[in-house]
Amino acid sequence: MTTNLEQTIEEQFETLQILNVKGEIVNKSADPQLSDDELKELMKRMVYTRIWDQRAISLNRQGRLGFYAPVAGQEASMLASEFAMEKEDWLLPSYRDIPQMVWHGLPLVKTFLYSRGHFEGGKIPDDVYTLMPQIIIAAQCTQTAGVALGLKKRGKKNVAFTYFGDGATSQGDFYEGLNFAGAFNVPAVFISQNNRFAISVPVEKQSATKTLAQKAVAAGIKGIQVDGMDPLAVYAAAKNARERAINGEGPTLIETLTYRYGPHTMAGDDPTRYRTEDLDSEWELKDPLVRFRIYLENKGLWSKEIEDEVVETAKEDIKKALKEADQIPKQKVSDLINNMYENLPQNLQEQLEEYRKKESK
């Protein structure tokens, strides 16, 4: 039996869609009114990222890159939300959220070094406000509450954005992060990218709730579910969440309904073991690039020539970044030892000497 309370909670979480799969505006009042340049820029980023994703997958297969979690399908969810961030807003990404880091200012070469397992990949430039990709599922959620509390205490007009998956909402850290953010009323935006699977486990098995957005209710913060394949809906939700955060109206949980077309990571995952081709094709029909391309073309803002140019730029950038990555010296154990403390304790000083000797042989 469904209680009235449950009914009212679920009724509050209808999916926000602004641009439908045919590239038509279906919710005029919610249209975020991006300028023509902004619309083009967002499309450019999505096209660029899709090319980069394809290259990264093939470079991984050739052994030229290491760890990589594919992103195709999630471009709107990732990039239209990051598009609402200001330069000095903090980003707390997961292992899959490398594109947001780059569009937030991280040089591409860093992401390749990270992928190869080189500590230079984690050395974030001073003017880029991001943490390293988080491997531990949902650990970034509690940290986001901390970053946002710091921003609030400093009186800065900035916001902390964090990204994680659908599976991540099962972790205690997820609930703790939302709850802390709500309790301290801090400027934080939590983005759960619901791509329907946590490796092989479907989201239906993670939780009995019908939406992930409604998990905000227990923390007393705002929650919203959006069509994560719709760049305008994702942007509108993120923009609104940011404004509310800045105005002291509290944190928001955004659930984006999306899909990853590829495997979980490039380390041996086989999606055919746990999802059907029908499901894949159903989601491919909702593709964010396809509908945004139609929308922009109808406005006279996009053409094949522009798209080709973006593709070329992406390919060139990747080539350059790879070359740069190849030139970074290999890591030595002595480098790793030097990364451990401000002042090396006795044991590590001794080991530093030992390894320096070995390395100079």
Binding site: I136, S200, A267
Partner: protein, 325 residues
Amino acid sequence: MAQMTMIQAITDALRTELKRDENVLVFGEDVGKNGGVFRATEGLFDEFGEERVFDTPLAESGIGGLALGLTMENYRPVMEIQFFGFVFEAMDSVAAQMARLRYRSGGKYNAPVTIRSPFGGGVKTPELHADSLEGLFYQTPGVKVVIPSTPYDAKGLLIASIRDNDPVIFLEHMKLYRSFRGEVPEEAYTIELGKANVVREGKDLTIITYGAMVKTSLKAAELLAKENIDVEVIDLRTVNPIDVDTIVQSIEKTNHAVVVQEAQKQAGVASAVIAEINDRAILSLEAPVGRVTAPDTVFPFAAAENVWLPNEKDVVEKVKATLNY
């Protein structure tokens, strides 16, 4: 006898115990339909059904608590932590709850839980997948820690772990999963927990080691044999508790010892082994006990693994230094 990889031997042990005892339940992240990210539970979901082999929501502390709770209804949980670096998420449920259940209840309750988990370097995983964290659980009275080094040992030790009435952490070195095959009997058999195995006999020096470093040490022993140095190699098999009798017996014969572990110097169980030797066999020693370990950094970024992990050259050098002390 069948030739199996270690991962096949593990699946075989799980199947054996699922068949034998209907109270055995296998669960964790992706262990159901997907058969585990390493395919350790391949086929078990189809064979035994979702009632016995199932996926959980993504939360290690939840998995640990679920396991403890199920023991109250006399189930025998075999839970998986997908990679052992994620055990920090389950630290309370394992170290603060399961490990103390028997003690806190005056022996009324116990937690016959087996925690399976892959770990170990050399396969270029991302952060927190490969760390050798067995030392944390050596320092946790109330649990046992088992680390097999061959397919044969993996099956016998896993069956023994599942049948054990106390919590057992069963650590599977990823590098050993598929790197070689070995003979594995088809029938069920157990290898006693807490007993070491002398994998190579020798008279000059005793190497005490475990996990992937058993192979490394055996390779070193081959190299040393060419120089007429005759090394005995002990595979601990269980690192909590440590089989001190086998170690002491060997040292009384060889009068020299080197401990080899993949973990950092300040981690692992090398320092515990040395302390036991100090207590029990110091007068048999002709030189201080040598140690081969990784340096005291965080587990290295993937591209630096090969220079960070101890190798057979390190072992050879340390053996010689100990003999020439």
